[in-house]
């Protein structure tokens, strides 16, 4: 694979500036979660989304909103990753992942590693910009 800079820094900056203050700290968690692979990273958005629904059912809209913002952030980052690597890896968009079919694990080891390497770098950039804007 030839060198591709992916404009990670600009993408990360866009992601960070788009977010509300309430979820900026997610960037650090993302950087940590990357170590556990693609599925775990993908799953965090879904986990927050499930929390959001639970709070909505309990009519705790304030708490539901907080979970929603976090879920959106993780989802956005995932989708940026998909877009960044689309030339090399056929990663599905967040809403299209069929996790129950182990879809992400069926990717070749190389592709998983490349995707994760890009994701790690993206998260590092997110953390950097978060520290600037916080």
């Amino acid at each position: 694979m030839s060198w591709e800079a992916y404009s990670l820094d600009q993408r990360a900056r866009k992601l960070v500036t788009k977010r509300s203050e309430g979820c900026l700290r997610e960037a650090y968690k993302m950087r940590e979660a990357v170590a556990y692979g693609l599925e775990r990273f993908w799953g965090e958005s879904s986990r927050y989304r499930a929390n959001q629904k639970r709070y909505e059912e309990d009519r705790k809209q304030d708490k539901a909103n907080i979970e929603k913002v976090k879920a959106d952030y993780w989802e956005d980052v995932w989708n940026v990753l998909v877009d960044l690597t689309k030339e090399d890896i056929d990663l599905p968009l967040h809403k299209d992942v069929k996790v129950e079919e182990d879809e992400l694990w069926k990717l070749s080891r190389d592709k998983q590693e490349v995707a994760l390497a890009v994701l790690i770098q993206l998260c590092d950039c997110l953390v950097w910009w978060t520290q600037r804007y916080k």
Partner: protein, 550 residues
């Protein structure tokens, strides 16, 4: 997927159907996750840290416990924790510490630096931790547990079964507030991972070398660290987690200025032991905070019908996920409690709070002590003490608690009138605390403390007159009284509190408190129950005798 090796639980999405770790009642995923994590080679020998060898000749001074490691220029301090230590290591559905090399949990250097910094004066802060312009002179390497951090324990085998083992790091939180105070709700318990009585090594090194004037005063570093540890390490410190033996909070120490800003209450209690997920029994000091928090909610719900305001006031005192509370609590017990089905403990409860809050919390604490007790089944009197023949009948002693205070000035209640006066004073204090002139209670809460919803009966006796009532048909299977609908496991939280309050002359003020806002739970047994109490000579002390149509 036949062609894929099984994926460890740790790498799966933490969602329903993939890897759900949080709910205590769904143990399968968690069991596998724990097993894969703590014993990755599946050979029964988890990775552990061994104690470093220390150079005894390189201590900062003879009394210091800080010593240089033999192999490196790192200073170590070994600290033993008597209870549990919990820290949150990030993005998981389960609360667990940060994982270090080989998956061994540890407390990161940055956390230790944060803790250390809080105990520094301005000059020390800059010298050791640095500021925006200069780096600090100290490197914080973090703290790690030595020995078996999983606290694997072999459980005695039941007849005909293979012996099992469990990990004592598998902890449980069991929030009861909603279920007990607000509405009949499913009792969700959550799992978390906390170190159980760990021995931890704290490590530091110098960030500057070869310059005499830059030398670090290691004795001072040790003093700052040990002072910092008095605030507790990690989270949930106000419920008794994270206190190192030998470094108890400042407000518990008599000659410390903070001592006068805290309440100090001598207590002795016996009650039903808490159970871990593995079935192991444990005495858990968080029973005090849980009792206070619940009581503050139900008391405020009796004067204010704005649920958000009650929640805010309770969070302000006891903390929430957004911010720590103003109240800090430490249970000091000289001897370790070895829990059986019941525990016996004796100690001093220290409660630190700002002046205005302290007065209110003191009243709530007295209320908790007078009206019920602390811990599991706090609504019932100890059957071991007040109904000894229950043992012969049922062969077990797992109902109730009994708390006494040897401190003469803690409460001054000796009869029904004293109790009535105390409850009136408390009700007024609740209004003052929320600055409310005309109290309105929360209508749909099961235990809002208002005289129209609650009735207190009491009288002075030598022994309990009411205890057997709870075991009479049909009271024992009435949800509001016995907490059950049929013989067997309780499913409901009882709406009745029963207390034998020790008073002067070796007598007791027997107190029965009834919440009757939701009559459906009473199944027409409220009137007969009150009649039985009156027949037993107990008298209306606070609240209103409910009106019956028949």
């Amino acid at each position: 997927m036949a062609d894929l090796p099984p994926i460890p639980k740790m790498y799966l999405a933490q969602i329903e159907g993939r890897c759900s770790l949080r709910y205590a009642s769904e143990p399968e995923d968690r069991k596998q996750w724990l097993q894969e994590w703590v014993d990755p080679k599946q050979d029964g020998n988890p990775y552990t840290h061994t104690k470093p060898i220390l150079r005894q000749d390189r201590k900062p001074d003879p009394h210091s416990k800080l010593a240089l490691r033999q192999d490196t220029s790192i200073y170590c301090l070994e600290i033993k924790f008597n209870g549990r230590v919990v820290s949150n290591g990030g993005q998981d559905t389960i609360l667990r510490p940060v994982l270090g090399k080989n998956g061994i949990p540890y407390i990161p250097g940055s956390s230790i630096k944060g803790l250390f910094r809080r105990a520094c004066n301005h000059e020390q802060k800059i010298r050791y931790c640095g500021d925006a312009d200069r780096p600090g002179k100290l490197r914080f390497h973090g703290a790690y547990p030595v020995g078996d951090w999983t606290r694997k324990k072999r459980q005695p085998a039941k007849q005909g079964e293979v012996p099992k083992s469990c990990y004592l790091i598998e902890d449980i939180v069991h929030p009861q507030q909603k279920r007990q105070v607000e509405a009949q709700d499913s009792p969700s318990a959550y799992a978390l991972i906390s170190f159980y009585e760990p021995t931890m090594i704290f490590e530091f090194s110098s960030a500057v070398r070869n310059s005499d004037e830059e030398n670090i005063d290691w004795r001072e570093v040790e003093t700052i660290l040990t002072t910092a540890l008095r605030q507790g390490l990690g989270g949930k410190t106000s419920t008794g987690y994270g206190f190192a033996s030998g470094y108890i909070p400042e407000y518990t120490i008599k000659d410390n200025p903070l001592y006068n800003q805290a309440l100090h209450i001598e207590l002795e209690g016996t009650g039903v032991s808490s159970k871990l997920l593995s079935g192991e029994l444990e005495f858990r000091p968080n029973i005090f905070k849980a009792a206070l928090r619940g009581h503050v909610s139900r008391l405020l719900a009796g004067v204010c019908n704005n649920k958000n305001r009650i929640e805010e006031a309770t969070d302000d005192l006891f903390g929430s996920t957004n911010a720590p509370g103003k109240v800090e609590i430490y249970w000091e017990q000289p001897r370790k409690v070895t829990p059986n089905n019941t525990y016996h403990t004796k100690g001093i409860l220290h409660i630190l709070a700002p002046e205005a809050e302290r007065q209110f919390v003191n009243l709530v604490m007295q209320f908790a002590y007078i009206m019920g007790g602390f811990g599991k089944t706090w609504r019932r009197v100890s059957h071991e003490k007040f109904y000894p023949s229950y043992l012969q009948q049922y062969g077990k002693f797992d109902i109730g608690c009994h708390w006494i205070s040897s401190q003469s000035n803690f409460i001054t209640i000796n009869n029904r009138t004293d109790l009535g006066n105390f409850l009136n004073q408390l009700y007024e204090s609740c209004q003052k605390y929320l600055a409310i002139n005309s109290p309105i209670f929360v209508r749909n809460w099961r235990e809002a403390w208002h005289s129209q919803r609650v009735t207190v009966y009491s009288e002075v006796f030598d022994n309990s007159q009411a205890i057997k009532l709870f075991h009479q048909e049909p009271f024992k299977i009435t949800p509001a009284i016995g907490g059950r609908e049929r013989p067997g496991e309780p499913r409901f939280v009882s709406s009745v509190w029963h207390r034998m309050l020790p008073i002067e002359g070796n007598k007791y003020l027997e107190i029965v408190t009834m919440f009757h806002g939701d009559r459906t739970l009473w199944r027409n047994q409220l009137q007969p129950f009150i009649q039985s109490l009156e027949n037993a000579q107990l008298q209306l002390t606070w609240g209103t005798r409910p009106v019956f149509n028949t």
